[in-house]
């Protein structure tokens, strides 16, 4: 089963070594800045992301892989803007306007940034570090009733079991194909039946699994509420410097709104 937990690309660059909290904050800040970006900010953020990509020793291919799942959607939005919903002076392209081209391009570029900044975070941060970072970032919300410890445990269970459930799905599928089920033929009803025959055992097993997992966790002394962690996060001077820089840059970006 080729499912990879996250997109982590091992490395020891400055970006890899940054505290996960700083990296999460960075993605948030870049996302906010980019949301209402004009051409100037778009160029500035492009340069910033290019710099980070270089420092983290990531390649263009890595970045493209992150954008690929959404390419069609982005293309659709770009084309819709180019050809329809934007009034303005006509351009050499039939039905298109220069305003449409400009707006479509900026919009699409914004979304690509949102995806890329998040992709760089996951490519340079281990999933377990991300969870630790997330748990720490959610701690201030505890007085509001959002239990950061329990959220972290649930996220960890999801990551633990997604690959296992995919393996299980494959096994169920193989067993049914061995019995002659063909998932690509037949009318709609037949296909629906076959999908149900795939999904029902998966859910049934998952329910039994959940019971056992909960029992196992309690058997190991789990109870909701505060716990300690093996992994400690410590902010270094370089973490503070980079965080400060990011805040200043975001401030400048937002000021331009």
């Amino acid at each position: 089963m080729g499912y990879k937990l996250g997109q982590y690309i091992p490395g020891s660059s400055l970006v890899h070594r940054l505290d996960p909290r700083v990296k999460i904050a960075a993605v948030m800040l870049v996302s906010i800045t980019v949301l209402r970006a004009d051409a100037f900010i778009v160029v500035a953020v492009t340069i910033l992301l290019a710099g980070i990509t270089f420092i983290a020793r990531l390649s263009l291919a890595h970045l493209l892989r992150a954008v690929r799942p959404l390419v069609i959607f982005f293309a659709l939005i770009f084309l819709v803007h180019l050809f329809f919903f934007t009034p303005g002076a006509p351009s050499p392209l039939p039905l298109a306007t220069y305003e449409g081209l400009y707006r479509g391009a900026i919009l699409t570029w914004r979304f690509v940034f949102l995806i890329l900044s998040a992709a760089i975070l996951t490519m340079t941060t281990l999933p377990s570090e991300l969870i630790s970072g997330l748990e720490r970032c959610l701690r201030p919300l505890r007085p509001l009733g959002i239990p950061s410890h329990d959220v972290a445990v649930m996220v960890s269970i999801v990551l633990r079991f997604v690959p296992t459930l995919l393996q299980e799905l494959d096994q169920i599928k193989e067993a049914q194909m061995a019995r002659g089920a063909d998932f690509k033929a037949g009318n709609l009803l037949a296909r629906m039946k076959r999908v149900s025959s795939l999904v029902i055992p998966l859910i049934r097993n998952s329910i039994l699994r959940a019971e056992e997992v909960a029992m196992g966790m309690e058997g190991r002394g789990y109870r909701r509420g505060p716990r300690t962690y093996m992994r400690e996060l410590r902010m270094t001077p370089s973490d503070y410097i980079i965080l400060a820089l990011l805040v200043i840059l975001t401030g400048l970006g937002v000021y331009r709104w």
């Binding site: 799942p69 919009l107 998040a118 999908v195 029902i200």
Partner: protein, 182 residues
């Protein structure tokens, strides 16, 4: 979820987490439909989370699912991930999974002691409507499209698939609900 989350047992937490994982798995399964693009099973599991787990755990499971994706793990449709997806054109659907698919569907199913086929299907449809309203709103705002354009891009292509998934979700709920005692 705030205060609601404090009364949840370890079992409830694990059920929510496992259904979050199933929703992620659903995003990986695509069934070919005649003459149409393949549809993913993701929203099938969104309906099931609400219908089988109820409002609190259903919403919690979808919240965790979105959180895992936002953290950058490739669990959204097509293997996408990241905060960009939530803030981007498709983010409204994800919020809809929590409020519509998880919470509202669960809430409606809970209103009846032993809901039948029709009631479960209606609950799922209601959840789906919320998913689409939030989805179209965000799509039209973020992508700067008029609502008609957003509907054409973000709803119409999926309607047949959704009808099929809701029927399947209803059957599966009737079949498996006896197993869950949360």
């Amino acid at each position: 979820m705030g205060r609601a989350a404090t009364g949840i047992s370890t079992r409830g937490m694990v059920f929510a987490a496992i259904f979050a994982a199933l929703t992620a798995v659903g995003a990986f399964i695509a069934i070919p439909l005649i003459g149409l693009v393949p549809i993913s099973l993701q929203t099938l599991f969104v309906h099931l989370a609400g219908a089988l787990l109820g409002s609190r755990l259903g919403a919690l499971s979808q919240f965790i699912y979105v959180l895992v994706g936002v953290m950058g793990l490739p669990v959204f449709a097509g293997g996408a991930s990241g905060l960009g997806v939530l803030l981007g054109p498709r983010g409204g659907y994800l919020i809809g999974f929590i409020i519509g698919g998880g919470y509202l569907t669960g809430r409606l199913v809970e209103r009846r002691k032993k809901p039948g086929f029709l009631w479960i299907a209606i609950s799922c449809v209601a959840g789906l409507v919320v998913i689409y309203i939030l989805g179209v709103l965000q799509l039209s705002i973020v992508a700067d499209l008029p609502v008609t354009g957003a509907l054409a891009v973000g709803v119409v292509p999926f309607l047949i698939g959704d009808a099929i998934k809701i029927i399947a979700a209803t059957f599966i709920t009737l079949k498996l609900r006896g197993m869950i005692k949360v």
